[in-house]
Protein backbone atom coordinates (compact mmCIF):
# COMPACT_ATOMS: atom_id res chain seq x y z
CA UNK A 1 0.00 0.00 0.00
CA UNK A 2 1.20 3.42 -0.84
CA UNK A 3 0.72 4.55 2.73
CA UNK A 4 3.79 2.52 3.53
CA UNK A 5 5.87 5.28 2.08
CA UNK A 6 5.29 7.22 5.25
CA UNK A 7 7.00 4.44 7.12
CA UNK A 8 10.15 4.00 5.13
CA UNK A 9 13.00 6.29 5.77
CA UNK A 10 15.38 4.93 3.20
CA UNK A 11 15.39 7.18 0.20
CA UNK A 12 17.80 7.73 -2.62
CA UNK A 13 18.21 11.32 -1.56
CA UNK A 14 21.92 11.65 -1.55
CA UNK A 15 23.69 10.56 -4.60
CA UNK A 16 27.25 10.13 -3.45
CA UNK A 17 30.27 11.44 -5.31
CA UNK A 18 30.61 8.11 -7.07
CA UNK A 19 27.23 8.40 -8.70
CA UNK A 20 27.30 8.31 -12.44
CA UNK A 21 25.19 11.02 -13.92
CA UNK A 22 23.05 9.83 -16.78
CA UNK A 23 24.38 11.26 -19.94
CA UNK A 24 22.15 12.94 -22.45
CA UNK A 25 23.39 10.74 -25.22
CA UNK A 26 22.87 7.42 -23.53
CA UNK A 27 19.60 5.69 -23.94
CA UNK A 28 18.01 6.07 -20.52
CA UNK A 29 17.44 2.77 -18.72
CA UNK A 30 14.16 4.07 -17.44
CA UNK A 31 12.49 7.28 -18.25
CA UNK A 32 9.42 9.27 -18.90
CA UNK A 33 6.67 8.04 -21.17
CA UNK A 34 6.60 9.54 -24.64
CA UNK A 35 5.14 13.02 -24.85
CA UNK A 36 5.32 13.88 -21.18
CA UNK A 37 7.44 16.81 -20.03
CA UNK A 38 10.22 16.36 -17.51
CA UNK A 39 8.49 18.78 -15.16
CA UNK A 40 5.38 16.56 -15.05
CA UNK A 41 7.42 13.48 -14.14
CA UNK A 42 9.27 15.46 -11.49
CA UNK A 43 6.12 16.73 -9.85
CA UNK A 44 4.75 13.19 -9.81
CA UNK A 45 7.82 11.98 -7.95
CA UNK A 46 7.85 14.96 -5.62
CA UNK A 47 4.24 14.25 -4.65
CA UNK A 48 5.08 10.87 -3.16
CA UNK A 49 8.52 11.23 -1.59
CA UNK A 50 9.12 11.80 2.10
CA UNK A 51 12.64 13.11 1.94
CA UNK A 52 14.16 15.97 -0.05
CA UNK A 53 15.41 14.68 -3.40
CA UNK A 54 18.75 15.65 -4.89
CA UNK A 55 18.83 16.90 -8.43
CA UNK A 56 21.12 14.03 -9.36
CA UNK A 57 18.74 11.46 -7.89
CA UNK A 58 15.83 13.01 -9.75
CA UNK A 59 17.79 13.11 -13.00
CA UNK A 60 18.55 9.45 -12.67
CA UNK A 61 14.89 8.70 -11.96
CA UNK A 62 13.62 10.43 -15.07
CA UNK A 63 16.58 9.45 -17.22
CA UNK A 64 17.45 12.99 -18.24
CA UNK A 65 20.58 15.13 -17.91
CA UNK A 66 21.05 16.97 -14.64
CA UNK A 67 21.06 20.28 -16.43
CA UNK A 68 17.67 19.68 -17.95
CA UNK A 69 16.26 18.53 -14.61
CA UNK A 70 17.67 21.58 -12.87
CA UNK A 71 15.93 23.81 -15.40
CA UNK A 72 12.66 21.89 -14.99
CA UNK A 73 12.84 22.33 -11.22
CA UNK A 74 13.35 26.06 -11.58
CA UNK A 75 10.34 26.09 -13.88
CA UNK A 76 8.25 24.21 -11.30
CA UNK A 77 9.29 26.56 -8.49
CA UNK A 78 8.15 29.55 -10.52
CA UNK A 79 5.03 27.69 -11.57
CA UNK A 80 3.97 26.92 -8.00
CA UNK A 81 4.92 30.41 -6.87
CA UNK A 82 2.51 31.83 -9.42
CA UNK A 83 5.18 33.82 -11.27
CA UNK A 84 4.72 31.83 -14.45
CA UNK A 85 1.14 32.81 -15.18
CA UNK A 86 -0.80 30.35 -13.01
CA UNK A 87 -2.09 30.77 -9.46
CA UNK A 88 0.21 30.87 -6.45
CA UNK A 89 -0.30 27.32 -5.17
CA UNK A 90 -1.05 26.31 -1.59
CA UNK A 91 2.18 24.34 -1.71
CA UNK A 92 5.68 25.21 -2.78
CA UNK A 93 8.83 23.46 -3.95
CA UNK A 94 11.73 24.23 -1.64
CA UNK A 95 15.35 23.16 -1.53
CA UNK A 96 16.18 21.94 1.94
CA UNK A 97 19.28 20.06 3.04
CA UNK A 98 20.55 19.54 -0.47
CA UNK A 99 17.33 18.32 -1.94
CA UNK A 100 13.92 19.33 -3.18
CA UNK A 101 10.63 18.63 -1.46
CA UNK A 102 7.08 19.93 -1.60
CA UNK A 103 6.00 21.85 1.48
CA UNK A 104 2.89 23.68 2.55
CA UNK A 105 3.27 27.35 1.67
CA UNK A 106 4.02 29.27 4.83
CA UNK A 107 1.06 31.64 4.67
CA UNK A 108 -1.18 28.57 4.95
CA UNK A 109 0.61 27.14 7.99
CA UNK A 110 -2.15 28.22 10.30
CA UNK A 111 -4.93 26.49 8.37
CA UNK A 112 -2.94 23.30 8.08
CA UNK A 113 -1.89 23.38 11.72
CA UNK A 114 -5.51 23.70 12.84
CA UNK A 115 -6.41 20.82 10.61
CA UNK A 116 -3.60 18.62 11.92
CA UNK A 117 -4.62 19.41 15.49
CA UNK A 118 -8.21 18.32 14.96
CA UNK A 119 -6.94 15.16 13.35
CA UNK A 120 -4.74 14.40 16.33
CA UNK A 121 -6.77 14.77 19.50
CA UNK A 122 -4.75 14.76 22.67
CA UNK A 123 -6.22 11.46 23.78
CA UNK A 124 -5.69 8.16 22.04
CA UNK A 125 -8.76 6.30 20.82
CA UNK A 126 -9.76 2.98 22.33
CA UNK A 127 -8.67 1.26 19.11
CA UNK A 128 -5.25 2.92 19.33
CA UNK A 129 -4.82 2.00 22.99
CA UNK A 130 -5.74 -1.63 22.38
CA UNK A 131 -3.39 -1.83 19.43
CA UNK A 132 -0.64 -0.28 21.54
CA UNK A 133 -1.27 -2.88 24.24
CA UNK A 134 -1.02 -5.68 21.70
CA UNK A 135 2.29 -4.31 20.42
CA UNK A 136 3.62 -3.85 23.96
CA UNK A 137 3.01 -7.48 24.85
CA UNK A 138 3.84 -9.15 21.55
CA UNK A 139 6.72 -7.04 20.26
CA UNK A 140 8.35 -7.07 17.83
CA UNK A 141 5.24 -7.66 15.78
CA UNK A 142 4.25 -7.02 12.17
CA UNK A 143 1.19 -5.05 11.15
CA UNK A 144 -0.32 -8.18 9.65
CA UNK A 145 0.02 -10.01 12.92
CA UNK A 146 -1.56 -7.11 14.81
CA UNK A 147 -4.40 -7.03 12.32
CA UNK A 148 -5.03 -10.73 12.75
CA UNK A 149 -5.20 -10.41 16.52
CA UNK A 150 -7.44 -7.36 16.39
CA UNK A 151 -9.46 -8.74 13.47
CA UNK A 152 -9.52 -5.28 11.92
CA UNK A 153 -7.29 -3.25 9.69
CA UNK A 154 -4.82 -1.36 11.82
CA UNK A 155 -2.90 0.66 9.26
CA UNK A 156 -4.07 4.07 10.31
CA UNK A 157 -3.87 3.27 14.01
CA UNK A 158 -0.28 2.14 13.61
CA UNK A 159 0.43 5.38 11.76
CA UNK A 160 -1.03 7.37 14.63
CA UNK A 161 1.05 5.48 17.20
CA UNK A 162 4.17 6.01 15.10
CA UNK A 163 3.34 9.68 14.80
CA UNK A 164 2.96 9.87 18.55
CA UNK A 165 6.33 8.25 19.04
CA UNK A 166 4.85 5.47 21.16
CA UNK A 167 6.04 2.77 18.80
CA UNK A 168 8.85 2.56 16.30
CA UNK A 169 10.05 0.28 13.54
CA UNK A 170 12.16 -2.51 15.01
CA UNK A 171 13.24 -4.24 11.81
CA UNK A 172 12.02 -5.34 8.42
CA UNK A 173 11.71 -9.02 7.77
CA UNK A 174 14.11 -9.66 4.90
CA UNK A 175 11.95 -12.39 3.45
CA UNK A 176 8.45 -11.01 3.66
CA UNK A 177 9.36 -7.34 3.74
CA UNK A 178 7.01 -6.94 6.69
CA UNK A 179 7.97 -4.15 9.04
CA UNK A 180 7.99 -5.18 12.70
CA UNK A 181 7.13 -2.68 15.39
CA UNK A 182 8.18 -2.27 19.00
CA UNK A 183 7.30 0.19 21.71
CA UNK A 184 9.53 3.11 22.64
CA UNK A 185 10.87 4.50 25.88
CA UNK A 186 8.15 7.12 25.66
CA UNK A 187 5.59 4.42 26.42
CA UNK A 188 7.61 3.33 29.46
CA UNK A 189 7.62 6.92 30.64
CA UNK A 190 3.87 7.23 30.16
CA UNK A 191 3.30 3.99 32.06
CA UNK A 192 5.75 5.00 34.76
CA UNK A 193 7.95 1.94 34.45
CA UNK A 194 11.63 1.43 33.74
CA UNK A 195 11.52 -1.55 31.47
CA UNK A 196 9.11 -3.82 29.67
CA UNK A 197 9.79 -6.47 32.32
CA UNK A 198 7.65 -4.42 34.65
CA UNK A 199 4.53 -4.90 32.54
CA UNK A 200 2.06 -6.99 34.53
CA UNK A 201 2.17 -10.63 33.43
CA UNK A 202 -0.79 -11.74 31.35
CA UNK A 203 0.95 -14.54 29.51
CA UNK A 204 -1.19 -17.59 30.40
CA UNK A 205 -3.96 -16.42 28.14
CA UNK A 206 -1.74 -15.42 25.28
CA UNK A 207 -0.69 -18.80 24.05
CA UNK A 208 -3.80 -19.51 22.07
CA UNK A 209 -4.05 -16.00 20.73
CA UNK A 210 -2.48 -16.73 17.39
CA UNK A 211 -4.11 -20.00 16.60
CA UNK A 212 -6.07 -20.11 13.42
CA UNK A 213 -4.54 -17.07 11.82
CA UNK A 214 -2.07 -18.91 9.67
CA UNK A 215 -3.48 -17.43 6.55
CA UNK A 216 -2.72 -13.92 7.63
CA UNK A 217 0.69 -12.63 6.75
Amino acid sequence: MASESAMTSASPTDAGPGTVEPGADEAPARGIPEGIEVARALEAILMVVDEPQSVVGLASAVGRPVKEVRAAIAELVADYDGTAGGPRRGFELREVGGGWRIYVRSELDEVVRDFVHTQNPSKLSQAALETLAVIAYKQPISRGAIASIRAVNVDSVVRTLLGRGLITEAFTDSETGAIHYETTDLLLVQLGINSLDELPKISPLLDDGTEGFDDVR
Binding site: A2, V134, I193, L199, D208
Partner: protein, 279 residues
Protein backbone atom coordinates in the same frame (compact mmCIF):
# COMPACT_ATOMS: atom_id res chain seq x y z
CA UNK B 1 -17.53 -12.70 -19.65
CA UNK B 2 -14.86 -14.34 -17.61
CA UNK B 3 -14.73 -18.03 -17.97
CA UNK B 4 -14.43 -19.79 -14.69
CA UNK B 5 -10.86 -20.90 -14.19
CA UNK B 6 -10.10 -24.34 -15.47
CA UNK B 7 -9.81 -26.74 -12.62
CA UNK B 8 -6.39 -28.19 -12.11
CA UNK B 9 -7.84 -31.63 -11.88
CA UNK B 10 -8.52 -33.27 -15.18
CA UNK B 11 -11.23 -35.61 -16.18
CA UNK B 12 -9.88 -38.40 -18.25
CA UNK B 13 -12.95 -39.05 -20.29
CA UNK B 14 -12.05 -42.43 -21.67
CA UNK B 15 -10.15 -43.71 -18.71
CA UNK B 16 -11.78 -46.27 -16.45
CA UNK B 17 -13.39 -44.84 -13.33
CA UNK B 18 -10.34 -45.83 -11.33
CA UNK B 19 -8.37 -43.35 -13.41
CA UNK B 20 -10.17 -40.31 -12.03
CA UNK B 21 -7.86 -38.11 -10.09
CA UNK B 22 -9.65 -35.34 -8.33
CA UNK B 23 -8.78 -33.13 -5.44
CA UNK B 24 -11.57 -31.42 -3.65
CA UNK B 25 -9.39 -28.40 -2.99
CA UNK B 26 -9.57 -27.50 -6.65
CA UNK B 27 -13.24 -26.79 -6.36
CA UNK B 28 -14.65 -24.23 -4.08
CA UNK B 29 -17.89 -26.03 -3.43
CA UNK B 30 -20.42 -27.88 -5.56
CA UNK B 31 -21.43 -24.87 -7.66
CA UNK B 32 -17.84 -24.31 -8.58
CA UNK B 33 -17.60 -27.89 -9.74
CA UNK B 34 -20.93 -27.83 -11.54
CA UNK B 35 -20.12 -24.57 -13.24
CA UNK B 36 -16.75 -25.83 -14.44
CA UNK B 37 -18.36 -28.98 -15.80
CA UNK B 38 -20.98 -26.96 -17.62
CA UNK B 39 -18.36 -24.56 -18.92
CA UNK B 40 -16.16 -27.40 -20.05
CA UNK B 41 -19.02 -28.71 -22.17
CA UNK B 42 -19.80 -25.16 -23.28
CA UNK B 43 -23.39 -25.52 -22.24
CA UNK B 44 -25.75 -22.80 -21.23
CA UNK B 45 -26.79 -23.19 -17.64
CA UNK B 46 -30.43 -23.08 -18.64
CA UNK B 47 -30.05 -25.71 -21.34
CA UNK B 48 -27.75 -27.98 -19.52
CA UNK B 49 -27.45 -31.40 -20.95
CA UNK B 50 -28.30 -32.81 -17.61
CA UNK B 51 -27.39 -36.36 -18.33
CA UNK B 52 -23.75 -35.84 -19.14
CA UNK B 53 -23.13 -33.22 -16.52
CA UNK B 54 -24.84 -35.27 -13.85
CA UNK B 55 -22.73 -38.29 -14.69
CA UNK B 56 -19.56 -36.26 -14.48
CA UNK B 57 -20.63 -34.60 -11.28
CA UNK B 58 -21.31 -37.96 -9.69
CA UNK B 59 -18.01 -39.28 -10.95
CA UNK B 60 -16.24 -36.44 -9.16
CA UNK B 61 -18.21 -37.11 -6.06
CA UNK B 62 -17.28 -40.77 -6.15
CA UNK B 63 -13.64 -39.94 -6.72
CA UNK B 64 -13.69 -37.52 -3.83
CA UNK B 65 -15.23 -40.15 -1.66
CA UNK B 66 -12.63 -42.75 -2.53
CA UNK B 67 -9.87 -40.20 -2.06
CA UNK B 68 -11.15 -39.64 1.41
CA UNK B 69 -11.25 -35.94 0.64
CA UNK B 70 -14.86 -35.70 1.64
CA UNK B 71 -14.41 -35.73 5.33
CA UNK B 72 -16.19 -32.65 6.46
CA UNK B 73 -19.86 -33.46 6.69
CA UNK B 74 -21.03 -29.96 5.94
CA UNK B 75 -19.00 -29.81 2.78
CA UNK B 76 -20.06 -33.24 1.60
CA UNK B 77 -23.69 -32.51 2.22
CA UNK B 78 -23.64 -29.48 -0.07
CA UNK B 79 -22.23 -31.63 -2.83
CA UNK B 80 -24.81 -34.30 -2.10
CA UNK B 81 -27.74 -31.91 -2.27
CA UNK B 82 -26.64 -30.77 -5.71
CA UNK B 83 -25.95 -34.33 -6.82
CA UNK B 84 -29.34 -35.56 -5.67
CA UNK B 85 -31.13 -32.71 -7.40
CA UNK B 86 -29.23 -33.36 -10.62
CA UNK B 87 -29.97 -37.03 -10.37
CA UNK B 88 -33.67 -36.36 -9.86
CA UNK B 89 -33.73 -34.16 -12.92
CA UNK B 90 -31.90 -36.71 -14.97
CA UNK B 91 -34.30 -39.46 -13.96
CA UNK B 92 -37.26 -37.26 -14.74
CA UNK B 93 -35.91 -36.56 -18.21
CA UNK B 94 -35.40 -40.28 -18.85
CA UNK B 95 -38.89 -41.28 -17.85
CA UNK B 96 -41.63 -41.26 -20.50
CA UNK B 97 -43.38 -37.94 -20.33
CA UNK B 98 -46.91 -38.32 -19.01
CA UNK B 99 -49.61 -35.91 -19.91
CA UNK B 100 -50.60 -35.25 -16.39
CA UNK B 101 -48.61 -32.82 -14.37
CA UNK B 102 -48.57 -34.30 -10.96
CA UNK B 103 -47.28 -32.82 -7.75
CA UNK B 104 -43.97 -34.61 -8.08
CA UNK B 105 -43.29 -33.05 -11.47
CA UNK B 106 -44.01 -29.63 -10.09
CA UNK B 107 -41.69 -30.26 -7.18
CA UNK B 108 -38.98 -31.33 -9.62
CA UNK B 109 -39.44 -28.22 -11.71
CA UNK B 110 -39.17 -26.13 -8.60
CA UNK B 111 -36.05 -27.98 -7.56
CA UNK B 112 -34.55 -27.40 -10.97
CA UNK B 113 -35.40 -23.71 -10.94
CA UNK B 114 -33.96 -23.34 -7.50
CA UNK B 115 -30.78 -25.13 -8.45
CA UNK B 116 -30.35 -23.06 -11.58
CA UNK B 117 -31.19 -19.86 -9.75
CA UNK B 118 -28.55 -20.59 -7.15
CA UNK B 119 -26.09 -21.58 -9.82
CA UNK B 120 -26.75 -18.39 -11.79
CA UNK B 121 -26.33 -16.36 -8.67
CA UNK B 122 -23.08 -18.12 -7.91
CA UNK B 123 -21.88 -17.50 -11.44
CA UNK B 124 -22.76 -13.81 -11.24
CA UNK B 125 -20.64 -13.33 -8.14
CA UNK B 126 -17.84 -15.41 -9.55
CA UNK B 127 -17.77 -13.32 -12.69
CA UNK B 128 -17.92 -10.01 -10.91
CA UNK B 129 -15.08 -11.16 -8.67
CA UNK B 130 -12.86 -10.86 -11.73
CA UNK B 131 -13.69 -7.17 -11.75
CA UNK B 132 -12.73 -6.96 -8.08
CA UNK B 133 -9.40 -8.66 -8.78
CA UNK B 134 -8.69 -6.40 -11.74
CA UNK B 135 -9.66 -3.19 -9.95
CA UNK B 136 -7.61 -4.07 -6.90
CA UNK B 137 -4.60 -4.92 -9.03
CA UNK B 138 -4.92 -1.65 -10.97
CA UNK B 139 -5.42 0.43 -7.86
CA UNK B 140 -2.47 -1.33 -6.23
CA UNK B 141 -0.33 0.24 -8.96
CA UNK B 142 -1.51 3.74 -8.16
CA UNK B 143 0.48 6.03 -5.92
CA UNK B 144 -1.22 8.29 -3.47
CA UNK B 145 0.44 11.18 -1.73
CA UNK B 146 1.10 9.92 1.76
CA UNK B 147 4.15 11.58 3.16
CA UNK B 148 5.57 12.03 6.63
CA UNK B 149 4.11 15.06 8.26
CA UNK B 150 6.38 18.08 8.03
CA UNK B 151 8.32 18.48 11.26
CA UNK B 152 6.80 21.84 12.01
CA UNK B 153 3.33 20.28 12.22
CA UNK B 154 4.51 17.12 13.88
CA UNK B 155 6.12 19.10 16.68
CA UNK B 156 3.05 21.16 17.38
CA UNK B 157 0.49 18.39 17.63
CA UNK B 158 -1.19 18.62 21.00
CA UNK B 159 0.62 16.78 23.72
CA UNK B 160 -0.67 13.37 24.48
CA UNK B 161 -2.82 13.12 27.58
CA UNK B 162 -2.07 9.73 29.07
CA UNK B 163 -4.64 8.61 31.60
CA UNK B 164 -4.09 4.86 31.70
CA UNK B 165 -2.58 3.18 34.75
CA UNK B 166 -0.23 0.25 34.34
CA UNK B 167 -2.92 -2.18 35.44
CA UNK B 168 -5.48 -0.62 33.11
CA UNK B 169 -2.99 -1.04 30.31
CA UNK B 170 -2.47 -4.72 31.14
CA UNK B 171 -6.23 -5.24 31.32
CA UNK B 172 -6.56 -3.64 27.91
CA UNK B 173 -3.89 -5.96 26.53
CA UNK B 174 -5.69 -8.93 27.97
CA UNK B 175 -8.92 -7.80 26.38
CA UNK B 176 -7.30 -7.18 23.02
CA UNK B 177 -5.32 -10.41 23.02
CA UNK B 178 -8.16 -12.66 24.00
CA UNK B 179 -8.84 -14.61 20.81
CA UNK B 180 -11.71 -13.00 19.03
CA UNK B 181 -13.37 -16.10 17.74
CA UNK B 182 -15.94 -15.68 15.08
CA UNK B 183 -19.04 -16.85 16.89
CA UNK B 184 -20.36 -20.11 15.56
CA UNK B 185 -24.05 -20.73 15.24
CA UNK B 186 -24.83 -23.12 18.03
CA UNK B 187 -26.45 -26.39 17.06
CA UNK B 188 -27.01 -27.43 20.65
CA UNK B 189 -30.66 -26.55 20.57
CA UNK B 190 -31.18 -28.95 17.69
CA UNK B 191 -30.41 -31.99 19.77
CA UNK B 192 -30.70 -31.41 23.43
CA UNK B 193 -29.20 -33.26 25.11
CA UNK B 194 -26.47 -34.35 22.74
CA UNK B 195 -26.30 -38.07 22.16
CA UNK B 196 -22.97 -39.65 21.40
CA UNK B 197 -23.07 -42.28 18.68
CA UNK B 198 -19.94 -43.79 20.15
CA UNK B 199 -21.53 -44.16 23.57
CA UNK B 200 -24.60 -45.77 22.09
CA UNK B 201 -22.42 -48.01 19.94
CA UNK B 202 -20.70 -49.17 23.11
CA UNK B 203 -24.10 -50.10 24.52
CA UNK B 204 -25.09 -51.93 21.33
CA UNK B 205 -21.76 -53.76 21.10
CA UNK B 206 -22.02 -54.84 24.75
CA UNK B 207 -25.45 -56.34 24.14
CA UNK B 208 -24.49 -58.09 20.90
CA UNK B 209 -21.19 -59.50 22.05
CA UNK B 210 -22.97 -61.72 24.51
CA UNK B 211 -23.46 -63.97 21.45
CA UNK B 212 -27.22 -64.28 21.10
CA UNK B 213 -29.00 -62.56 18.20
CA UNK B 214 -30.85 -59.47 19.39
CA UNK B 215 -33.80 -57.76 17.78
CA UNK B 216 -33.67 -54.05 17.05
CA UNK B 217 -36.64 -53.67 19.36
CA UNK B 218 -34.56 -55.13 22.16
CA UNK B 219 -31.63 -52.91 21.27
CA UNK B 220 -33.66 -49.77 21.71
CA UNK B 221 -35.52 -50.99 24.76
CA UNK B 222 -35.24 -48.48 27.53
CA UNK B 223 -34.23 -45.66 25.19
CA UNK B 224 -36.13 -42.67 26.50
CA UNK B 225 -35.32 -40.20 23.79
CA UNK B 226 -35.64 -40.19 20.00
CA UNK B 227 -32.02 -39.09 19.75
CA UNK B 228 -30.86 -42.21 21.54
CA UNK B 229 -32.83 -44.45 19.14
CA UNK B 230 -31.40 -42.63 16.16
CA UNK B 231 -27.90 -42.87 17.58
CA UNK B 232 -28.23 -46.61 18.16
CA UNK B 233 -29.55 -47.04 14.63
CA UNK B 234 -26.61 -45.06 13.22
CA UNK B 235 -24.27 -47.06 15.42
CA UNK B 236 -25.67 -50.25 13.88
CA UNK B 237 -25.08 -48.91 10.38
CA UNK B 238 -21.54 -48.03 11.32
CA UNK B 239 -20.99 -51.47 12.79
CA UNK B 240 -22.38 -53.00 9.62
CA UNK B 241 -19.90 -50.95 7.64
CA UNK B 242 -17.14 -52.45 9.74
CA UNK B 243 -18.60 -55.91 9.07
CA UNK B 244 -19.17 -56.34 12.78
CA UNK B 245 -22.86 -57.19 12.57
CA UNK B 246 -25.24 -59.00 10.26
CA UNK B 247 -28.95 -58.37 9.76
CA UNK B 248 -31.84 -60.71 9.32
CA UNK B 249 -35.30 -59.55 8.34
CA UNK B 250 -37.85 -62.14 7.18
CA UNK B 251 -40.33 -59.76 5.60
CA UNK B 252 -40.34 -56.07 4.71
CA UNK B 253 -40.91 -53.94 7.79
CA UNK B 254 -40.78 -57.12 9.85
CA UNK B 255 -38.77 -57.75 12.97
CA UNK B 256 -35.08 -56.88 12.44
CA UNK B 257 -32.66 -59.28 14.06
CA UNK B 258 -29.04 -58.29 14.57
CA UNK B 259 -26.25 -60.77 14.94
CA UNK B 260 -22.66 -60.16 16.05
CA UNK B 261 -20.35 -61.31 13.24
CA UNK B 262 -17.05 -59.59 13.99
CA UNK B 263 -14.08 -61.88 14.02
CA UNK B 264 -11.57 -59.63 15.63
CA UNK B 265 -12.99 -56.61 17.35
CA UNK B 266 -11.01 -54.34 19.57
CA UNK B 267 -12.00 -51.35 21.60
CA UNK B 268 -9.97 -49.32 19.17
CA UNK B 269 -12.64 -49.96 16.56
CA UNK B 270 -15.14 -48.54 18.93
CA UNK B 271 -13.10 -45.43 19.56
CA UNK B 272 -13.04 -44.60 15.85
CA UNK B 273 -16.68 -45.37 15.38
CA UNK B 274 -18.92 -42.50 14.49
CA UNK B 275 -16.06 -40.14 13.63
CA UNK B 276 -17.88 -39.22 10.46
CA UNK B 277 -20.64 -37.75 12.52
CA UNK B 278 -18.31 -35.50 14.40
CA UNK B 279 -19.22 -37.07 17.68
Amino acid sequence: MARSPEPAATIEQDAPPAGFRVTLDDFDGPFDLLLSLITKRELDITEVSLSVVTDEFLAYLRAMESDGTVDALDQASEFLVVAVTLLDLKIASLLPQGELVDAEDVALLEARDLLFARLLQYRAFKEVSAWFARSMAEEGERHVRSVRLEDQYRETTPELKWTLSLDDFAALALLALTPKEIPVVGLDHLHAPLVSIREQAAHVVALLRQGEPVTFRQLIAGADAKGVIVARFLALLELYRHAAVGFEQLEPLGELTVRWTAENWTDENLVNLGNDYGQ
